[in-house]
């Protein structure tokens, strides 16, 4: 999985939900969804549903709890994709 490409894909997924444009523009692996991007915590489930749809994976509740930043999201996507193979 190409890291840069995944970051770009994640950016387009979270874009409708963000409330801090500056943090979005300078998004890195360390960017936190709630503290940096100011995504409404209720909307996190929508982000996760959008990720599931994009990659055709299922993210279980335990993984969902860990998915607080870009890095964790990428790791989980990676893991779920490799489970599929």
């Amino acid at each position: 999985m190409n890291k840069e490409q995944t970051i770009e894909e994640l950016k387009s997924i979270v874009k409708p939900y963000i409330a801090n444009q500056e943090a979005f523009d300078t998004l890195t692996e360390e960017t936190d969804f709630i503290n940096d991007l100011k995504i409404n915590s209720a909307n996190l489930v929508d982000v996760i549903l959008d990720i599931e749809e994009k990659y055709n994976i299922v993210i279980d509740n335990e993984s969902m709890e860990r998915m607080i930043n870009v890095k964790a999201a990428m790791e989980i996507i990676d893991a779920k994709l490799s489970e599929k193979e």
């Binding site: 409708p16 939900y17 909307n43 929508d46 549903l49």
Partner: protein
């Protein structure tokens, strides 16, 4: 001391007009908003016509963000938010976002159900073991207070934010609840209104009761016929109305336009006793509601210039006229003007009281009585009680001073509010 309460803003999303200008034009000219409904036809309803407001995505985007409209499927909230924000802006109130809520302003915005299409969508997902895929807004869209919650957030309201529900009386009741809260000094301003979802899942139950007309599937504009001898049931409708009620002193201090004063009113129930049932009104309670409203407003029955009735186009219209006549002690040529908005928009159910109140207040403010359509053939039981000149079939331009507006609903519940042209 009790505060005087005035109306400073109006908003409406009706089947025959979205926005005050379109709606005023439609009601003055007797324009029907009833159309053939392909969805009701496909589902083999007996009644295949309806009154639905036309709201484009473009218009919706002026009131909701793109994100809010993602997976949004609640027509009632859509109509209610548009009418509510329009009323707020019409009152000259700001939409700016402040750190603190506006502690003096609240909303009482009623509905019968919320987001019934979203609810259906959710039920299908749940039964398909897809609960986790409902998304984050299924609750906000389907909770009954969804409409007041959306409005409260958009306007930053810090006073009471709630949703009332009393079937077809809902909208009249919300105005009276707001009136009482301001009168007692607990709020300076309340956005009062009500809304109703559109569609087969709202209207199906009425179709099953055979209370909707099935005789006008090919002549929709003639379908809603209050007070007519050929009335054959109501036409289902939907939409929302909203009014800003304000403490008189606050309104004057900010130089607000004042449409009318709310003099008072009454809500009661017939208790489903006597002739009253779940679906039929107890006439004793209806008359008591009207009489108590007049007393509460501190006026005499002879001062009422016009009545905006409930008048749905079922067999109960004659009984309603009789109740008004007996409660007011007025008949024949002495009876006030009376009209029914339902002839043009159908029965907008929980939205009806608010949409019809907006129409009533516009009549007072602009000095006209809107026409009743589809009642060339007045019911003889009605014309034996009141003179047919009291039921305008063409718009009458005249100065009005006091209008009584009443709504009656399932559960044997009644509401009557008295509006007066404002004089300082």
């Amino acid at each position: 001391m009790q505060k005087r309460v005035v109306i400073t803003g109006l908003g409406v999303v009706a089947p025959n007009g979205v926005g005050l200008n379109a709606f005023t034009h439609a009601i003055k000219n007797g324009i029907s908003g009833i159309k053939k409904d392909p969805e009701l036809e496909r589902l083999q309803f007996s009644c295949q016509i309806s009154g639905k407001p036309e709201v484009s995505t473009e218009l919706a985007l002026q009131y909701f963000t793109e994100l809010e409209l993602r997976n949004f499927n609640s027509t009632g909230i859509l109509y209610g938010v548009i009418a509510g924000i329009d009323a707020w802006k019409d009152a000259g109130l700001a939409m700016e976002i402040n750190e603190d809520p506006d502690w003096d302003s609240g909303t009482i915005f009623g509905t019968g159900t919320s987001g019934i299409d979203k609810f259906r969508e959710s039920i299908y997902k749940i039964d398909d073991f897809q609960t986790r895929r409902l998304g984050s807004t299924a609750v906000a869209q389907t909770m009954n207070s969804g409409v007041s919650a959306y409005l409260g957030g958009k306007l930053g309201l810090g006073n009471q934010v709630t949703t009332n529900s009393s079937a077809c009386t809902t909208g009249t009741e919300s105005i009276l609840m707001a009136y009482e809260r301001i009168q007692s000094g607990q709020a300076k301003r309340i956005l009062a209104g009500s809304t109703s979802d559109s569609g087969p899942y709202i209207w199906g139950g009425f179709d099953a009761m055979r209370v909707c007309t099935f005789k006008h599937n090919d002549s929709p504009a003639q379908g809603s016929r209050p007070m007519s001898v050929s009335a054959s049931g109501f036409v289902p409708g939907s939409g929302a109305g909203a009014v800003v009620l304000e403490d008189l002193e606050t309104a004057l201090a900010r130089g607000a336009k004042i449409y009318a004063e709310v003099l008072g009113g009454n809500v009661n129930s017939g208790g489903q006793r006597g002739l009253g049932t779940m679906t039929a009104p107890n006439p004793v309670a209806v008359q008591k509601c009207i009489k108590n409203a007049i007393e509460n407003a501190g006026i005499h029955a002879n001062e009422i210039d016009a009545i905006n009735g409930h008048l749905t186009a079922t067999s109960k219209d004659s009984l309603e006229i009789q109740n008004w006549s007996e409660a007011l002690g007025r008949k024949g040529i002495d009876f006030p003007y009376i009209n029914s908005l339902k002839s043009m928009v159908g029965h907008c159910l929980s939205g009806a009281g608010s949409i019809e109140s907006v129409a009533s207040i516009l009549q007072l403010h602009k000095g006209f009585v809107f026409p009743n359509i589809n009642c060339e053939d007045l019911h003889p039981e009605i014309t034996t009680l009141i003179d047919d000149s009291r039921i305008p079939r063409k718009v009458i331009e005249t100065k009005l001073n006091i209008i009584a507006k009443a709504s009656f609903g399932f559960g044997d519940v009644n509401g009557c509010v008295i509006f007066k042209k404002f004089k300082s």
